[in-house]
Symmetry: C2
Amino acid sequence: MRNPPLYFVQPYLKTKKIHPENQETPIEFISDRSIPSSLFYRRNHFPYPKLTSENYRFPITGLVRHPRIFSWNDLKRLPSKTLKVVLECSGNKRSFFEPKTFGEQWEKGAISQGEWRGVPLRTLLEITGIEKEAEEVIVEGYDYGYRSDLDRLYPYARSLPLEKAVHPDTLIAYEYNNEPIPFKHGFPFRLIVPQWYAMASVKWIKQIHITNTAFKGAFQTIDYVYYPSRENDEGAYPVTTMNVNSTIQSPLDMEILNTGRHTIRGIAWTGIGSISNIEVSIYDGETWNKMRIEASPCKSYEWCTWAYEWDVSRKGEYIIKSRAIDSYNRSQPKKPLWNKKGYGYNAEDQVKVLVE
Amino acid sequence: MRNPPLYFVQPYLKTKKIHPENQETPIEFISDRSIPSSLFYRRNHFPYPKLTSENYRFPITGLVRHPRIFSWNDLKRLPSKTLKVVLECSGNKRSFFEPKTFGEQWEKGAISQGEWRGVPLRTLLEITGIEKEAEEVIVEGYDYGYRSDLDRLYPYARSLPLEKAVHPDTLIAYEYNNEPIPFKHGFPFRLIVPQWYAMASVKWIKQIHITNTAFKGAFQTIDYVYYPSRENDEGAYPVTTMNVNSTIQSPLDMEILNTGRHTIRGIAWTGIGSISNIEVSIYDGETWNKMRIEASPCKSYEWCTWAYEWDVSRKGEYIIKSRAIDSYNRSQPKKPLWNKKGYGYNAEDQVKVLVE
């Protein structure tokens, strides 16, 4: 753009569905390191719950020594922690699977990042005490409704293994980017589970229950399970930590560019350790260039931003790719691991452009 | 949806590009027969022009007997006409071409409909008089900028053959849905050419010039031309009237439905005559059902809305298709006519769904 725009232009959430509301972040058009809540992707299974005074407290029950109800004031009085965290829907990039898989056709924007403030769940569990047999912590949200495959009202609920629940960075959050969490993102209390796909970060917390058996909720045993086979459930395993991944934000896929200098830029993130390396290819993966990582070293929980200055004089078509590697040496595969419900897409990202 | 939503949910423009601004109407989520201007798709080649007092008048020059400048007040004093018109970008549905074509990757929403009020261009040309040699009317907008394939500043301009320019429904519009045209849609004056793809409906009219030679502007000779061959320009011909077309608004592609009753609904439109028939197939085009057309008969210039109540008890995958036929007996092809720049996509529309 040689001419700056004279009128204000803003990106919007990309509408995928209205009821329930599913809209994605216009990730290609965002450079903020904390996504404003108005552009934070919205992913719902059910209609929005009705907010009442009941929402401002939740009980912790089950295998605890002192079951109790925690109020808004209790939470605000306890020591808080603020973490910048990537939340990524496990269906992010689902629309790129071949063959296509059913469900919301997310492009690259079912991901956002920002600062969540709250009390570690661990702190609350230290107050209630935990029985020795405890193995899982079930967190239920206020959202509920019908599923296409079950014949009754069903709440949104997920369990965490005790180990992850008591991780000091698993938060009962009450603020996003220094404001109370917006209603659509879980006000007043939302579980934040860094490094796990965001189905674990239950919104509108209604109750927390500790058990010694494996939770069988539909969002744990039917959905959010990788089914590698089209025909049956063989080899199925649960969706948990985010895969190592990267997204090219610019240029856009199928964009037409002129010769000259263009900035190829994007983000990279992972669910274990941190990003250690990002590479970009201009030649469809034949040769790769190591990226300058903008915030070095990349921090756990956050995405890295990266950029590459591309001087191009030869006209023609180019396939640009990006791939990230994390500190556990996980790298993006050339082809995604296809699975029936379309979770965890993390193949090398690519855009095709025409230079003329 | 058995539970009505308790909180307001609205669709947004789907952001395709910020500079210049290209955002599409969330057509699947709209039932208005006049799209509110906030959700009218935005398609720009250049940055928005700067609005000055000069914009409130434009000259008509060239092969006219009495060249003159028309002011805002002149226009408001002349007899006006209000037409409900579909405007469709000729790149609408470009993203569905296989192989993919370069340019904005429009899905189904580079189309909108609403009421344009203005003075027929014919009225102005009756005032100026036209010389006998006149053959084309060039309309230039205030928007200009660089193109990736040319090395100088270039204005947006298009010509119409005289016959189309003097059609009584070709308007110099100044209102959209009973309000002054929003700036982003051409305020104060926009050409409205019913039945032609919307590249003809020049925004921010700067000047009108009558000639006896074929206009060679880049948006007429380079862009908005069908190039059926990938290798060369053989068989090229200009983009003009809209093809007969239809779009399924609901269900969504790759949506998961339960057994029971679902409304399949959509729109259909054409650039010649009017829609005479709309058919829907539940079985991938093997059998077709004739639609109840909601406003009968369908009017020229407008889209028809149609709906089909589908009772489904058999679980499984379905490919749902729609096809429209117009009063000139044009129908949607099974496969689109591929062309290098990706214009005029009008193959039978389809969505795949899973019933479980």
